[in-house]
Amino acid sequence: MSSTIEAAVRVETKRQPLPPRERLEQVFDVQDLTAIYGSKAALKDVSMEVYKNLVTAVIGPSGCGKSTFIRCLNRMNDLVPSFRQTGTIRYHGQDIGARDVDPVAVRRTIGMVFQRPNPFPKSIYDNVAWGLKVLGMKDDLSERVERALTQAALWDEVRDRLKASALGLSGGQQQRLCIARAIAVEPDVVLMDEPASALDPIATQKIEQLLHELKQEYTFVIVTHNMQQAARVADMTAFFSISRGEEGERWGELIEYDETEKIFTAPSDKRTEDYVTGRFG
C-alpha cells in the first residue's frame, strides 16, 4: 500500500463499520444506466445502489460522467433537449426514468445542490421560503425557514438580516443557503454536484460537517473530484472513469463501488488504485 493511500485515509474521521449491505435500505437501485447527449454516450451501463442515511460519494476524473449520473437521479437532464437515457433507475422500487413519471414530483423528494452557489436574487428568507410556498407547505413558514437555516448552520449568521438580498452573502454562506433551500422542502435525498468546488477550505469544512450531521435525516449523493473530501465525508464511494472505444470515442463508466475505506485502502481494480494514489487524473 502506498503512503498516499494512507494519507488519504488518515484525514478521514473515525467511522463506524457499516452493517452488511443486505441489511441496508436501498434508496436507489440503478441498473444498466446509459446516458446519451445527442449521439454521444456520456455514461454507459452503470449499475449501483444507493443506501438510506448514508453519504455516497461519486469520484472520478473530469468528463467521466459523474455529474451526468447524479443529474439522472432527479431527472435534471430532462432540460437538455438532446438527452436520453436507457436502463432503469428505481427509487424505493419505483422506476423514475419512466416516461409517465412526473419529473416535478421526482425533484420534490430528491433535492439538489449545485456546483456554484445559485441563490435566487431574492431575500435570504425568500430563498428558503419560495420552495415551501410553491409546494404548498405554508403552515409555520417562518419556523420551517428557521429550522432549515439552522440545519444548514447558517441561522446565527443571517438571523438579523433575513430580509437582505441573498446575493450579499459570501460564497460559502450562499452555498449553505442553497443547502437550506434544498432541505427546507423536506426531501428524502439530497444530490450534491461538487458543492464545495467553488469554496475556500473553511467553507468547505463547514459543508462537510453539515453532511455528517444531516445524514441522520437525509440520504446524500455527492459528486466530488476531491478525493480527500470523499474520504472524509462518504460512507460509500463510487469510482467512475473514462473508457475509450476503438474509434476514439470516450464515455464514462462505473469502475468500482464499495465502502469508502475499501476504495481508498484496498481497491480491487487497478484503475481505482491508480486514481486514488494520484497516478492518474
Binding site: L79, T109, G111, V113, F114, N118, F120, W130, G131, L135
Partner: protein, 301 residues
C-alpha cells in the same frame, strides 16, 4: 531586445511615418462620421425647437385644436386633444402588445424547440421590417372597413408595430437569465410555470420595461397607420376610444399643410414635444437597462 532592434526603432522610418499618417486620416474620418450623426440630430432638434418654441406654452397642453378655417382661427390654441388621443392610442397599443409580446418571448425562450425558436425569431424580424403604412392598410381592411375608425383600431395598428420590438427585447433579457437559476428552482421541486413566473420573469422586469419604453417611443411618432385607422376626428378633446381620436403625429401632418402660420407653429410645437418625449423615454429606457443588467449580473456571481 537586441541593440540592433533598438536602432531600428529609433531611426526615422518612412513606413512608420506613412502608417501614422494613414492612421490619423482614418481616425479623422471615423470621428467625422460620428460627429455628422450627432450633428444631424442636433440640427433637427435645434430647428424644431426654434420654430416650435413660440407656440410652446401652457395653452398647448390645456386647449384643444380649433378648426381655423371654419371659425377664422383663434389667436391661441393648443394640442390638448392630440396629447390625450396619443396617450389613449399608444396606451391601448401597449396594453395589447406588452402581454402578447411577453408571452411570445416566454414561449420562445423557455419552452419552444430550437426549430420553432428560430422560425418565430425570423417572423418577428420580418414583422418589424414591414412598413408602417402596410400595417395601416391591413388594419384598415381588417377593422375600419367594417367598424369605422376608432382609437381601438389605431391602437391595434400601433400594437402590431410594437409587438416584434417588445417580444425581441424580452427574448433577449430572458436569454440573459442564467440557467443555474432555472435549475435551482426546478431542484426544489417547482413546476416549470412556477419557475418561469416566480424566478425567471422577475429577473427580466427591468429589461422588459426598457423594451416597452423603446417600443412606445417608436410608435408614438407613427403617422401612416393612424391616417387609415384613427384620423377623422371630431373637434375638441375626447376620451372615448371607440371614436377616432386626434393624435400628435396626425395633428402635425394636418397642421403642417395649413396656410395659417399659427397652425404651422402649432405643428412645430407638437413636433418638439414629441421629440422631447422620445428623447426622455429613450434615456429612461437606457437607465432602466443598465440598472437591470447590473442586477442580473450580480445574480450570476
Amino acid at each position: 531586445m537586441s541593440a540592433a532592434d533598438l536602432n531600428l526603432l529609433q531611426r526615422p522610418n518612412d513606413r512608420l511615418r506613412r502608417r501614422r499618417l494613414v492612421n490619423l486620416g482614418m481616425e479623422v474620418l471615423a470621428w467625422l462620421a460620428a460627429a455628422i450623426a450627432v450633428a444631424i440630430l442636433g440640427i433637427v432638434v435645434w430647428s424644431v425647437a426654434k420654430k416650435g418654441a413660440g407656440a410652446l406654452n401652457l395653452d398647448l397642453f390645456t386647449k384643444s385644436q380649433a378648426n381655423a378655417s371654419l371659425f377664422g382661427g383663434p389667436v391661441r390654441q393648443g394640442l390638448a386633444n392630440a396629447f390625450v388621443g396619443t396617450l389613449i392610442v399608444v396606451g391601448l397599443a401597449t396594453l395589447m402588445a406588452l402581454p402578447f409580446g411577453i408571452l411570445i418571448a416566454i414561449y420562445v425562450n423557455e419552452f419552444a424547440p430550437r426549430a420553432i425558436k428560430s422560425l418565430v425569431g425570423l417572423t418577428l424580424d420580418v414583422l418589424a421590417g414591414v412598413p408602417a403604412i402596410v400595417i395601416g392598410i391591413f388594419v384598415f381592411s381588417l377593422i375600419v372597413v367594417a367598424h369605422g375608425q376608432s382609437a381601438y383600431a389605431g391602437g391595434f395598428a400601433l400594437a402590431v408595430i410594437m409587438l416584434p420590438f417588445v417580444a425581441r427585447a424580452t427574448i433577449e433579457v430572458l436569454a440573459l437569465v442564467p440557467n443555474s437559476l432555472r435549475e435551482a428552482a426546478l431542484g426544489v421541486g417547482a413546476p416549470r410555470w412556477r419557475v418561469t413566473l416566480g424566478v425567471v420573469l422577475p429577473q427580466t422586469i427591468g429589461g422588459v420595461l426598457t423594451g416597452a419604453t423603446l417600443a412606445v417611443a417608436r410608435v408614438a411618432g407613427e403617422t401612416a397607420p393612424l391616417l387609415y385607422t384613427c384620423s377623422l376626428v371630431a373637434q375638441g378633446t375626447h376620451w372615448n376610444p371607440s371614436q377616432p381620436l386626434q393624435t400628435i403625429p396626425v395633428a402635425i401632418f394636418e397642421l403642417s399643410e395649413s396656410a395659417s402660420t399659427d397652425d404651422q407653429a402649432l405643428a412645430w410645437a407638437g413636433a418638439l414635444v414629441l421629440i422631447l418625449f422620445i428623447l426622455f423615454a429613450s434615456l429612461g429606457a437606457r437607465w432602466l437597462a443598465t440598472r437591470s443588467r447590473r442586477k442580473m449580473l450580480g445574480a450570476v456571481r
